[in-house]
Amino acid sequence: MIAFESVEFVYPSGVKALDGVSLRIGDGEVVALMGENGAGKTTLLKHLNGLLKPTSGRVLVDGVDTRKATVAQLARTVGLVFQNAEDMFFSSSVWEEAAFALRNFGYSERVVERRVDWALKFMELEKYSDASPFMLSGGEKKRLALAVILAWSPKVIALDEPTTGQDQLQKEKLLQMIKLLREQGRTIIISTHDVEFAAQLKPRVILMRRGRIVADGEADEIFLDEELLRSCNLLPPQIVSLTKRLGFLGIKPSLKHPREVADEIIDRLEGLSCKT
């Protein structure tokens, strides 16, 4: 359970990045943190494991005030995957890279071995175990960045812009993995402005603008509210625009899978052709 209580955060430069943020995220929730660049998404994520401490207000992670714990302590609960995977790689092999955090946390070599093997397998990277992390492709690097965090199996996983620079296939893979993690009961918090990607997870959506939360609700609600999305410089998912225009067929605007919508259209059209 994560709780933000009227959190304000001001950077040393004087920029106020969080301005009275209050929110609760329960165990096992999937949350998409959305908003344009500079809205405060990354700043909020960095509060989850204590990299940043609130200027005023407080952040509680499983009841622990982040100001009273070290980053290393909080990181065991909250795994934060950074936007740029290259900002963390330094080891000579993919396997060593994934083992780094486990050794920092003081796990025994046997546990390290088991966990690293599991995490690399989960992220479909086991065949690169001995390769240099720098030799991986963009998508593989992203997956390794996630594997590195998964290795110690944190309860909460926070991803900062996981889809930037990823092709469709990689995004699809990432989506499947996030769905699997959700089924394991983990809390997942994703900061993104990729509406299409977020819509497929049907998450709880938190919209941010200039350091404030402007909307907080289920994907079915928020993604249908075009005006609200536009006020945060976001566009609704394509499927919403499509279903909105199909109102004359009696189809309601929704976030359904394109296949379902296609079936619905066929149904309605068949109904129409029978009548004539």
Partner: protein
């Protein structure tokens, strides 16, 4: 370290100092630097620091200038301690006031020394810096390298912060354990930093080649440097102070450490 480097970062402004010809500013900073090196007198060093403070206050960069001084403090304290210990050890006496005075003066002088050029860097755009170096007949390839180094410093500092954040999120504790272990702990921070810097330099080289860098022998500038009456006044003041400082030091023998 990052705060020390902030004193090298250009801060936009429209003050008299900002509009001064960069060559004159370079001379002013050099004068302050040489003066601070010539004397080991606390009074003279104080005077140099006071002039630096006044100049940075006029240009509205006093805050940044103070940050340089603040960032230099660990180094200053280190210099003081090393001087004090080495001198005391060789003299065999540990509370000789003259040793304390000399150690203090040496460390204090370092502040004036390190902060002298931040007045130049804080008020000069990288472009002006390039023009200055070219006017001093330094080949543009070299001055470009120098300018890029300065330009990339803040980016590097920012990246260092991100990398440290990323590694701390993986349970790395940078300030734990004995000094030797601590140095080893910096490997996960330094490797990504260097790799990223190398990659960026390749990208920069490619981008420059695309823009035909070095295609013509002599580079021309959109804006040319021209001395105005104000600049001549600054030049005269700087030269006079420099002459005075050298004269007083060597001919009046004011300073006898």
């Amino acid at each position: 370290m990052a705060t020390l480097l902030q004193g090298l970062q250009f801060q936009p402004g429209a003050s008299v100092i900002h509009r001064l010809d960069p060559r004159v500013k370079l001379l002013i900073s050099t004068t302050l630097l040489i003066t601070s090196l010539l004397y080991l007198e606390v009074a003279v060093t104080s005077l140099v620091i006071a002039v630096e403070l006044i100049l940075s206050a006029i240009s509205g960069t006093a805050k940044r200038w103070a940050k340089t001084v603040y960032g230099a403090l660990p180094l200053v304290i280190l210099i003081f301690l090393m001087n004090y210990l080495v001198r005391s050890f060789s003299e065999g006496s540990y509370c000789d006031p003259s040793i304390i005075y000399v150690s203090f003066a040496t460390a204090y002088r370092l502040i004036a020394f390190l902060a002298s050029f931040s007045i130049f860097f804080l008020t000069t755009t990288p472009e002006e810096l390039g023009m200055t170096l070219t006017k001093l007949r330094i080949p543009y390839t070299y001055s470009f390298a120098f300018i890029s180094a300065i330009r990339f410093t803040p980016i590097l500092a920012e990246e260092l912060q991100t990398i440290m954040d990323a590694q701390r999120s993986r349970g790395l504790e940078l300030d734990r354990g004995n000094p030797i272990k601590r140095v080893r702990r910096y490997i996960p921070v330094l490797v990504p930093l260097i790799v990223n810097a190398l990659r960026r330099s390749y990208e920069l080289a490619e981008a420059m080649e695309v823009k035909c860098f070095g295609a013509s022998e002599k580079r021309t500038f959109l804006r040319e440097l021209r001395m105005k009456p104000r600049d001549y006044a600054g030049l005269a003041a700087a030269l006079l102070s420099l002459a005075l400082a050298i004269y007083a030091r060597f001919f009046l023998e004011l300073n006898l450490p």
